[in-house]
C-alpha cells in the first residue's frame, strides 16, 4: 500500500502509478508542500507520469537493505549532505543567539515529544516498545533521581545565557515550530504506531555520533566545543547529554521500527511518515535560527 509522503493519503488503487498521479495533481494545483517534496526528493524538472512512477519506485525501494538503513540514508541526505543543514552549520561553533534560538523553540518541541511518545505507548501492545518509550521519556522529560532530564538541561542552558525560565516558557512558538507540533501530533495519533515510532525517533539521528561513519558531512556540533570555554558549562551539559543519549536511543528505536513495520506490514506507512517528519523537522530547525536572530545584538 503506497502512501503520499506529504499529506499521508493512501494511494487508491495502491501502487506508485497512483502515487505519481496524486503528486502530479497536487503539483498542478501548485500545492507548496507537494511541489517542495518533488523538488527536493525527485527532480526540479516536471516529469511525465511514466518517468515519475519509475523514479518513485526507485526512491522508495529498500534495495535489499534494512529499513533502518533507508531511513538513515534519507535523513543524511536532507541534513548532513554537503553543505549540511543551515542549523547544523550554525551549531558547529554556536553563538549565544543560536543557542537561545535552540532553547526557546526546542522547549515547545520537547513538550510535543512527550505527547507523541505517550501516543505510541497508548497505541502499541508490545512491552519492549513501552519500555523503550518510558526510558526515553525519563531521559528527555522526567529525569531520573540525580540525573536532570534533557528538558531541564535545556532550560538551564537558556538561563546560563541570560534568559529567565519564565521568559522562555512564556514565549509562543514560531509558525514553523507550531506546524511541526501539529504535524507530529497528527502522525503520532493517527498513523500506525510503528510509523509514529519511526517518524519521531528518526529525528534523534540528528545528534547521532556514528552518522559521520555512515556518510554525514559533519557532526551535529564540533565536539571540541565540549572542552574549553567557547560555550557555557550549562550549554556543554545540554549538548553532551544529547550527544550521548541520542546515540543509543535512535539506533534502538530504528531496530524496533524495522521489526514491527515488517511484522505488521506497514513499511510504506513508515516511509511516508518518516519523510513527512523530515520535512517538518527541516522547517523547525530553520525556526530555531529565525528565533536566534532575534537575540543577535
Amino acid at each position: 500500500m503506497t502512501k503520499c509522503p506529504v499529506c499521508l493519503r493512501e494511494s487508491e488503487p495502491s501502487g506508485f502509478a497512483s502515487l505519481a498521479k496524486h503528486l502530479e495533481a497536487q503539483a498542478d494545483g501548485s500545492d507548496s508542500d507537494h511541489v517542495r517534496w518533488l523538488n527536493q526528493n525527485v527532480s526540479r524538472t516536471k516529469l511525465g507520469a511514466p518517468e515519475l512512477t519509475e523514479r518513485l519506485e526507485r526512491f522508495f525501494d529498500l534495495k535489499g537493505a534494512p529499513l533502518s538503513e533507508w531511513i538513515k540514508r534519507r535523513f543524511i541526505a536532507r541534513f548532513y549532505a554537503e553543505p549540511a543543514h543551515p542549523f547544523v552549520r550554525a551549531l558547529q561553533h554556536p553563538s549565544r543567539a543560536t543557542l537561545l534560538g535552540y532553547v526557546v523553540e526546542h522547549q515547545h518541541f520537547l513538550r510535543q515529544w512527550v505527547r507523541s511518545c505517550a501516543y505510541i505507548m497508548a497505541r502499541t501492545d508490545r512491552p519492549d516498545v513501552v519500555l523503550y518509550e518510558l526510558d526515553n521519556l525519563n531521559t528527555e522529560y522526567g529525569g531520573t533521581g540525580a540525573t536532570p532530564a534533557h528538558y531541564e538541561l535545556l532550560l538551564r542552558m537558556g538561563e546560563s545565557l541570560g534568559v529567565s525560565r519564565e521568559e522562555i516558557l512564556a514565549t509562543a512558538p514560531l509558525p514553523a515550530t507550531r506546524a511541526g507540533i501539529d504535524g507530529w501530533n497528527r502522525i503520532a495519533s493517527t498513523e500506525p504506531w510503528p510509523a509514529a515510532l519511526g517518524a519521531m525517533h528518526c529525528l534523534e539521528l540528528i545528534a547521532h555520533r556514528d552518522l559521520v561513519r555512515e556518510g554525514a558531512s559533519s557532526h551535529y556540533f564540533d565536539p571540541g566545543i565540549l572542552q574549553g570555554t567557547e560555550i557555557s558549562d550549562a550549554a556543554k551539559a545540554f549538548l553532551r547529554e544529547g550527544y550521548e543519549a541520542d546515540m543509543g536511543h535512535a539506533g534502538q528505536a530504528l531496530a524496533l521500527v524495522e521489526r514491527y513495520a515488517a511484522e505488521l506490514g506497514v513499511v510504506p506507512d513508515v516511509q511516508a511518515a518518516v519523510l513527512r517528519s523530515i520535512d517538518l523537522f527541516d522547517d523547525y530547525l530553520i525556526a530555531r535560527l529565525e528565533r536566534g536572530a532575534t537575540f543577535e545584538r
Binding site: D28, S32, V35, R36, N39, R44, P86, D282, A287
Partner: protein, 95 residues
C-alpha cells in the same frame, strides 16, 4: 527584468502552475511560497538600494542558502539570502 531561470523565477522548478505579475511582467512560479519569497526579495533589494526598478536578478543556490545578484543600470548588489518556511527573509547580507 531578466531572471536567470527558465522555470520558477525563484527556484527554477518546472512543477506547479502559478502565474503572477512581478515587475510588470507575467512570470511563472512553482508555488505560492516561491512567489512570496521572490516578491519579498525584490522589495528588500529596492529598499536597500533605493532603486525603483530592476534590470536583472540572478539567483544561485537552494533552500539551504542562496546568493542573489541584482542590477539596475550600472549598479550591482550581491547578497546572501535565506527565507523561513513562510517565505519571509531571515537573512539578507550584502557581500
Amino acid at each position: 527584468m531578466n531572471v536567470n531561470f527558465a522555470g520558477c523565477a525563484l527556484c527554477d522548478s518546472t512543477w506547479g502552475n502559478v502565474w503572477a505579475e512581478v515587475e510588470g511582467e507575467r512570470r511563472f512560479f512553482c508555488c505560492e511560497l516561491c512567489l512570496r519569497q521572490f516578491r519579498n526579495l525584490l522589495a528588500r533589494v529596492k529598499l536597500e538600494t533605493g532603486w525603483v526598478h530592476l534590470d536583472a536578478v540572478e539567483i544561485v543556490g537552494d533552500r539551504s542558502g542562496r546568493t542573489c545578484t541584482a542590477s539596475c543600470g550600472s549598479g550591482t548588489l550581491r547578497v546572501r539570502v535565506a527565507f523561513n518556511a513562510e517565505g519571509t527573509l531571515r537573512q539578507f547580507e550584502p557581500f
